[in-house]
Subunit: 344 residues, 2 copies
């Protein structure tokens, strides 16, 4: 066990220890240019025994290249964003690029601060959730001079690239599916909306889809914070007590939907006969519930991968710099809670 060094090691130290110029040491450590096998070995050995770790700060300043990709998401605590990050990781793992994550807690001003912090490191790209940003954030993205990918949502105008699904369409499609199964008295439960634009758009899509059939949502309720599963239980009870005639409940995410499902099963209510249910996200976590909740797969992994691929490709030499707009098509899985027609 050696003492802690007072000063981190530099190239100069490796140069001195190996008897090779700093420049050549640098070349060896980066596998650049032609270096003889002999000096190569000397350098590597010296670096190893000293325990040298290169200083990327100096390196990046000199080369004007930073192998960081800023990734900005609203939250890590629900199941959706970790999976997006996994997709990003998967793709960037095979490149020199490294993702750096920032969290906004669904707050515009925090998003602004986080982006500013990240841009000050001069990353090689930005992946950011959503299309709704403050003016300052928009301006920063616009002027950053690096590829930007706005992810998750495609209902709006991106600054540069865009990968996601249409949440309005997801709401519309769910409305169609619900109606087709013969449900008509619909309740909606979700997160408090001003903060979550994608949930809002799904809600609007649902409303519009039902309106086409002359149907209005009969009840709605929104929550903030707390255990989603427990909230789903509570809200479902409250809503059904107040609106006993409802025959379908659409939830803005799978967790509260699962809470609702467990509540209905506890109460002995016939699902999907008396009441149908659907959530949103396609959270794998929930496989294993007594019944499979109907849901829309949000293509999270795929979105992460596609976004990372855009950043990767844009950073390649001679890359096509034209913006890519990718709209993925989510599929509805009917599970065991959206099948009334089959019982007829």
């Amino acid at each position: 066990m050696t003492d802690r060094p007072a000063r981190p090691l530099t190239l100069r130290d490796v140069s001195a220890a190996s008897g090779v110029s700093e420049m050549t040491v640098s070349r060896v450590l980066r596998n650049r240019g032609d270096v003889s096998e002999a000096t190569r070995k000397k350098v590597l050995e010296a670096a190893q025994t000293l325990g040298y770790v290169p200083n990327q700060i100096a390196g990046s300043l000199a080369s004007q290249h930073v192998n960081l990709v800023a990734v900005i998401v609203p939250s890590l605590s629900n199941m959706v964003f970790p999976e997006v990050l996994t997709g990003i990781n998967q793709v960037l793992e095979d490149t020199p690029l490294q993702p750096v994550f920032g969290v906004t807690d669904y707050m515009r001003d925090k998003e602004e601060r986080v982006l500013y912090e990240m841009l000050s490191w001069r990353p090689s790209g930005v992946i950011i959730a959503g299309l709704e940003h403050s003016d300052a954030t928009q301006a920063m993205l616009q002027n950053a001079g690096i590829p930007v990918v706005e992810i998750m949502d495609t209902d709006g105008n991106p600054v540069d690239n865009m990968v996601g699904i249409s949440h309005r369409q997801a709401g519309l499609d769910m409305a169609k599916a619900i109606l087709k199964q013969g449900y008509s008295r619909i309740g909606f439960m979700g997160t408090s909306m001003p903060r979550d634009h994608r949930a809002r758009k799904r809600f609007e899509g649902l409303t519009e889809g039902l309106a086409k059939a002359g149907i209005e949502i009969e009840a709605r309720d929104f929550y903030e914070g707390g255990s989603a599963l427990a909230k789903g239980r509570e809200m479902t009870k409250t809503m059904l007590d107040a609106n006993p005639d409802l025959d379908f409940l659409y939830y803005s995410n799978d967790m509260i939907g699962a809470g609702g499902l467990l509540y209905l099963l506890d109460e002995g209510i016939d699902v999907p006969g008396q009441i149908g249910l659907a959530g949103f996200n396609g959270v794998e976590l929930l496989q294993g519930l007594p019944r499979q909740l109907a849901t829309t797969d949000a293509c999270r992994l795929e979105i992460g991968r596609a976004a990372a691929e855009i950043i990767r490709d844009r950073n390649a030499e001679g890359a096509d710099q034209s913006p890519k707009h990718i709209t993925l098509t989510p599929t509805i899985s009917y599970g065991d809670t959206l099948r009334r027609a089959l019982r007829a």
Copy 2:
């Protein structure tokens, strides 16, 4: 909408635009030293209209200070680490320090690579999960010359600081609780162990605690990957089919425990009368299940906060640099699945 600049702006540009020296511009932008209100205003205005974002790379190189804290965890996809990160975030939010996350997927060599990458940015501290690392990782942590906090686990020897709980003790305590409630034929289900040292230590603690009463674990099973809830169902069925006499099942995490619980309820098995259950972590997510699963709270948020506080304090001027070893005491919540004694 302005054009994308070919070259990012520099202090020099702000200096030119404001007619103030680079140095003074720098002072204004960092709120350092005395600057007259007049020049301050001039500078801020120029920076604003140009849309200048400082270059931290150059700044950090010059000042030899990097306000980054490296945070290295095995995974983002189970509920436990996001909550640790939340705790870290909470504390660092009020400081100039910024967390940067890295993920190891429970792989030693990946941990090594990620740490190397992060150290090359010369962060002001490292927070890393677990006490078991490769020799190279140990050496890097040892020689980094910055505060290091190893978190989650306290059964071992840290390089520097340590914050966590004793998983051996958690296993022992659970054994005691199980025995006290009159259970005696115990099965264990968990993650594949070589990769998860903390689960292994809980298992060892449990084994030891039971051994004191002359009891041996009768069945055990391990899983990898897949939806934990579904795995919990499957494994529980398999184990009970093969060992119908078991009267208690201890799971290495709450999700598979919840899967087991749902399975038993489906089968109409009396919980906790015929079979008792316990998980681990104290995952808030699961509130809302039909019965509350017994569990041990892993103090995740608190661990994150304490670790961040150590890094913060160590980076303060004139800070006490002596290593801190903090062992938190987890509490068992009995829920509705560890109460056989009450039925007697």
